[in-house]
Symmetry: C2
Subunit: 472 residues, 2 copies
């Protein structure tokens, strides 16, 4: 797909004068940023790995303004990058070569919780944390939770089908989305916010947009199913010998404790990095480092601790354990897991790959990734952590030097050989587009391409994302 | 969309000789039916309302044969109607004017239950009942259940996003489908059966096929998530004054009994018809007919009866009630609900509309439908029943005479005005295609049309379904 661009790589791109004036008339001049000092924050992702210049960042306040902005950009044939909280890891939300950036961060309206249906409609630019506060006031919760909750926007989470900490019980973002409103590249608005739990009238265009990474339409509002707000939570941190043991413990707990919400796995190297970065004490009685930590959390309307403890008492494999039920103690246990991202980033600019393999492959895959790291980038530091129940590792590699590309390819090929996915959570973006053919057959890639062309015939939305001219 | 047909309406259609020979070479002559005596059963739906001639019914045994059959039909430009158990109500699975019928009923392979993932892969032609038996032997269940379980095929249930009796707890078929294998009109095979619970790598083509009614591809295999097999069930049948009361009782139970599986509503007229047809005694102490019956069922791994009874004791609105925990007594209570379809069919050829409205509209909608029936078809008999939690009524009208079309339109317009859907369960088919514009905006219809053209550019798959040249 060829994309008309207004920029060259030699100089900062500039937008057509008429477009800037038109955008200012739509959203107000204050929300049309073209000064490089103001656009800079929108031109790089938070890992620092993906960056590109933009001639203009535009911040519409409501879906009508989004529609008008897209119509104007289409008129000038300026491609558009939709950008939410900019917490992605695959370069799907930053400009590449002079596209306009449509920032959704002002689409923050929160409609009242609908108690009859147990649903809520929110603006795409609302952060997860803002939506959590909003629905919890009404006695509900949103099922998806993730560490970037203060920055990640609902629209971005829908566009990438975010996963996070509770997929094992509630499914990913896809399972929470009962409707969307979205604007097409030509400015037409598609509204599917009725929230009917049963509706079999034509293609489910809502679900097609979940995970479409801004390549088909710009999501402006989202209708979410809500879950009960659980008042009782219990968190345990277990010290274990290896990944296989962690899987056994998980299977045992999962089979008998329906309130199990999270199962997070971390390893000694990452835990040591977190302890150093956050100056955390060991959660266990002895300061001995253990090979594997498994954090389990249950949530229920009546205290779920007894069920969990009963299940764990049947497990012969625990080297050590810590349990917490009050909020501060639970937070302290979670810090050992949630501190990983910051601790890794503080130690350098990591290569980050978010992948999943079938559970029966996970233990062997862990060993394979360790071997591949040593082989392709001796001296690099591998930090693995992730969501055990989905076989989903966040692969972080520090100090890989110029071996990033080579190592990425080796890891992703290993994932593909084991029947896994090269992206479990963050999407394909530009980072993985050329490797999508490792796990998607030619017919799948062709169907995606014809669908993209049908929805966005001028290829104006998020060019370069998902589709690569250079398959591996 | 224009469709090349090989038939005229004056005579029985005939298939190109070369095609018949080619089909026989693929599936064996025994499974290529062209004798009208043999094709007759495939040319009419079970309501008797939709019928059309076909030159050939072909019954492939496996996905490879399906692919070869579709390649052959594409070569001769003969359009194809995919047909499963033929339990649809909207004419989406029977020929219209000379298309070939691809019967999926021999695609019955059941793969072993995968205990690690709690999933199973089954052939599209397997009946729901066959899959239920298969997974229950392994200690699992499939979340969707419906009265037509002995005939309805999994492929048809996916293609129409079937709902049924347990949507309130587990969601519709869409929520159960973790992957599909499907064959495109040109014979290419799309395989998405990996079953990974998290996978954010490109458009979710699986979900696009759920509810696509055979217009994008022929589904050949389905991977389903399974749920625990609950050993303890409790069923109550409540006699109530009206729909508003039923909604209040449901809200009360739903808020406090998480094991609630089903909530089915019926009315005096339908119950009387069932009692007469099945010679059932009243389930209550007195034979007085009550205006509304509400059937509730809970399922759990520990006896859920106490929870349910405790909740109902707080409800002041019960005129009468019956409770059952053992299988025969539970079946007896269910017969009052499940007997409706047969009892109605025994009384005539009903006009059947499957619709849903938001819960806050349901009680008023019930009254409106009663009024519309009297106004448009005096003397007609209205039988309403359905799935209360989704505001989903099966509208059955007997003896409407020549007012069918007029009455359909009046009811569907009422649904649309109240923010509902003109199809909650069975899809749009040919029956409702011209009314889809009542609830779908022009942009939605256009997006569906361009998606259809992208996937099936020759318009060979299920022509006439979903898309109408004659919008209301």
């Amino acid at each position: 797909m060829s994309v008309p661009v207004t920029a060259t790589l030699d100089a900062r791109p500039s937008a057509p004068k008429g477009l800037l004036a038109q955008l200012a008339s739509i959203v107000g001049g204050y929300h049309v940023l073209s000064d490089p000092d103001l656009t800079a924050g929108h031109e790089v992702d938070w890992t620092g790995r993906f960056t590109g210049p933009t001639p203009v960042v535009v911040r519409p306040r409501n879906p009508h303004e989004v529609a008008a902005v897209l119509r104007a950009c289409a008129q000038y044939r300026v491609p558009v990058i939709p950008q939410g909280g900019n917490t992605g890891l695959v370069g799907g939300g930053v400009p590449r070569q002079g596209e306009a950036v449509l920032s959704t961060t002002r689409l923050t309206d929160l409609e009242p919780v609908d108690r009859l249906s147990g649903q809520v409609t929110v603006g795409a630019g609302a952060t997860l944390a803002a939506v959590q506060r909003h629905v919890r006031e009404a006695g509900y919760d949103i099922a998806v939770d993730l560490a970037a909750r203060d920055s990640a926007t609902i629209g971005g989470m829908v566009a990438t089908n975010a996963g996070g900490l509770r997929v094992l019980r509630w499914g990913p973002m896809r399972s929470q989305v009962v409707g969307v409103e979205a604007v097409l590249a030509d400015g037409r608005v598609m509204n599917r916010l009725s929230g009917l739990p049963k509706d079999s009238s034509g293609y489910d265009l809502t679900q097609l947009l979940v995970g479409s990474e801004g390549t088909l339409a710009v999501i402006t509002r989202v209708r979410l199913r809500l879950i009960p707000l659980f008042t009782d939570r219990v968190t345990v941190l277990l010290a274990l010998q290896d990944t296989a043991t962690a899987l056994r413990v998980l299977a045992l707990v999962r089979g008998s404790v329906p309130s199990l919400d999270s199962a997070e796995i971390t390893y000694a190297d990452g835990v040591a990095l977190v302890h150093k970065h956050l100056r955390l004490p060991s959660p266990f009685r002895t300061p001995t480092p253990y090979p594997v930590h498994l954090l389990l959390e249950c949530a229920a309307q009546r205290d779920p601790a007894d069920d969990l403890i009963e299940a764990l008492e049947r497990s012969p494999d625990l080297l050590d354990s810590a349990i917490a039920t009050d909020e501060p103690s639970r937070r302290a246990l979670w810090a050992h897991r949630e501190g990983h991202t910051d601790a890794v980033n503080a130690a350098g600019v990591p290569l980050k790959l978010d992948v999943a393999v079938p559970l029966e492959e996970l233990a062997a895959f862990e060993q394979e990734v360790r071997g591949l790291t040593v082989r392709h980038a001796p001296g690099a530091r591998l930090v693995l952590f992730g969501h055990l129940a989905e076989g989903n590792y966040h692969v972080n590699i520090l100090d890989a030097g110029d071996r990033d590309e080579e190592l990425s390819e080796a890891v992703l090929r290993a994932v593909a050989r084991r029947g896994g996915t090269i992206s479990a959570e963050h999407g394909i973006g530009v980072a993985k587009a050329r490797w999508l053919s490792l796990t998607r057959a030619a017919v799948d890639l062709d169907l995606a391409a014809v669908t993209k062309r049908a929805w966005d015939p001028e290829a104006l939305l998020n060019p370069g994302v998902l589709f690569s001219a250079d398959p591996a």
